[in-house]
Amino acid sequence: MELLQLIEKNGRLEVEDLAKMLDLSVDATKQMIVKLETEGAILGYATVINWSKVLKYEGVTAMIDVKVTPTRGVGFDKVAERIYRFPEVKAVYLMSGAYDLSVSVEGKTMMEISRFVSEKLSALDTVISTTTHFVLKKYKHDGVIFDDQDDDDKRIMVSP
């Protein structure tokens, strides 16, 4: 648990440092990581990027609320799969409330996303309706605050 919490925050911690922090041997720590990877608890190691800081990068994110008719026998899973297989789809969640699936899509332009919605998503038989919201600005993503964070140490240098 503690190991997972540490590497969820920083996937690049060295095994040696992790071992020291957790008061384990390096081998035991390595084994634990391999085990978690094999069990599928650790699915990958990603980097959080603030793309708006990258010159020349133009990108658009949209969150789409989708209402669907569940398929007999398999419920929402089949429909969700039809949607999440598209590579431009970054996240799909089954939701309680006013709509069924929340789909997050990334594209280069608004046009590209609207084409995805009209030609691919709405074209699915099971999709009843879609509502598309474009993201204007990301403030925080996956627990990381994006805007110029001032994380200066504000403490005095030496204190009792």
Partner: protein, 390 residues
């Protein structure tokens, strides 16, 4: 101005030695690119819900004085919190006072109990303010030395040896600044017998109580027979990362709290109101944040203790607070030499152990309330420095 012989200054102030910490602060502040392990406060910013609650209180117009002893609601929460966490029962009506940091609680506790010439036993290595606070209150500080052989836990016989007919009280601090040492329940019971036998009071500074990593914390006041002999001091600075809010508290016997409240009323009126509202939120909904910070401190402690031992500085793993107190004796340097040379050569600031008392000589205090990245870099720099000395 009068000349030296006729200084306007009070003799008791004039005779106080300036703190050795101050000197290191001046040295380190003049340099660039210093990683400081010399900081006696959390690196975390106060939990957001606490900040938000304080904003809200200001928006609501809570900008006036509170009752002298502090908001009743807050005293009630403190009393519940102490009861739930450490099984000590205090009546919020007359046994709890909210103060300007634990610092002020210590000051008024001492002023409430000391008659001129009475002695207060102060354990070294210890927090730098105790002995000056005793002296300013008109008492005589009598220092005793906890030693590395006993993992810096003071032994009952050492206390007993320092007792005279003038002894009024002893100040205990567990978990300890600067050593991180935690007194176990058995050790506290041993001390309690001495206290009982000689009819003394204990000022128990438990400001690091929440930050214990290996054992459940025992409050001195929870030891049998000790609640009537203990002034329990604590606060929000450390566990809740609220040093700048200046909020602490004391709990104790009715007559002593009443006397402390009298001093408080005449000299401070009350602790800052917006901070009291923040503290209320901290006690009601701050536990998750405390646990998260505590987990992080424990991981960093493990990291630093391993790293120090690997580089050849002997360091036992302290049970609490956010300090380690390794020995630097095998480098052949004194505490001050070590700290000063380390600062100049590798730009890492630590505090020489001797500023915390005689028995701190040969040790340095490193605070691990610093990001892991900084700690990692600091340990690399220190390892280079130590390697050149061994």
């Amino acid at each position: 101005m009068r000349d030296q012989k006729h200084s306007y200054l009070s003799r008791s102030v004039d005779q106080l030695k300036p703190s050795g910490i101050r000197r290191f602060f001046d040295l380190a502040s003049q340099m660039e690119n210093v990683i400081s392990l010399g900081v006696g406060e959390p690196d975390f910013v106060t939990p957001w819900n606490v900040i938000e609650a304080s904003f809200h209180s200001l928006e609501q117009g809570y900008t006036a004085y509170t009752a002298n002893a502090g908001l009743f609601e807050l005293r009630e929460e403190i009393s519940k919190y102490l009861n739930k966490s450490y099984e000590v029962a205090y009546n919020p009506e007359n046994q709890v006072i909210v103060t300007v940091g634990a610092s002020q609680a210590i000051d008024i506790a001492l002023r409430a109990i000391i008659n001129p010439g009475e002695e207060v036993i102060v354990v070294e290595p210890g927090f730098v303010s105790y002995a000056p606070a005793v002296a300013l209150a008109g008492g005589t500080p009598v220092t005793i030395q906890a030693t590395a052989e006993n993992a810096f836990n003071i032994q009952p016989y050492q206390i007993e040896a320092a007792i005279t007919p003038n002894t009024k009280a002893i100040i205990l601090c567990s978990p300890n600044n600067p050593t991180g040492a935690v007194l176990s329940k058995d050790e506290l019971s041993g001390i309690a017998s001495v206290i009982e036998k000689h009819d003394l009071l204990v000022i128990s500074d438990e400001i690091y109580a929440e930050l214990t990593y290996d054992e459940v914390f025992t409050s001195f006041a929870s030891i049998k027979g000790m609640i009537d002999r203990t002034i329990l001091i604590s606060g929000f600075s450390k566990a809740f990362a609220m040093t700048g809010w200046r909020l602490g508290y004391a709990a104790g016997p009715k007559d002593i709290i009443a006397a402390m409240t009298k001093i408080h009323q005449y000299t401070i009126m009350c602790a800052p109101t917006m901070a009291q509202h923040g503290a209320l939120e901290a006690l009601r909904h701050g536990n998750d944040s405390v646990i998260q910070m505590k987990t992080s401190y424990r991981q960093r402690r493990n990291f630093v203790v391993k790293a120090l031992n690997e580089m050849g500085l002997s360091c036992h793993s302290p049970g609490g607070a956010f300090y380690v107190f390794p020995s630097v004796e095998n480098t052949g340097l004194s505490s001050e030499e070590f700290a000063e040379q380390l600062l100049h050569e590798e730009r890492v600031a630590v505090v020489p152990g001797n500023v915390f008392g005689k028995s701190g000589e040969g040790h340095i205090r490193c605070s691990y309330a610093t990001s892991l990245k900084q700690l990692d870099e600091a340990m690399k720099r220190m390892a280079r420095f130590v390697e050149r000395r061994l």
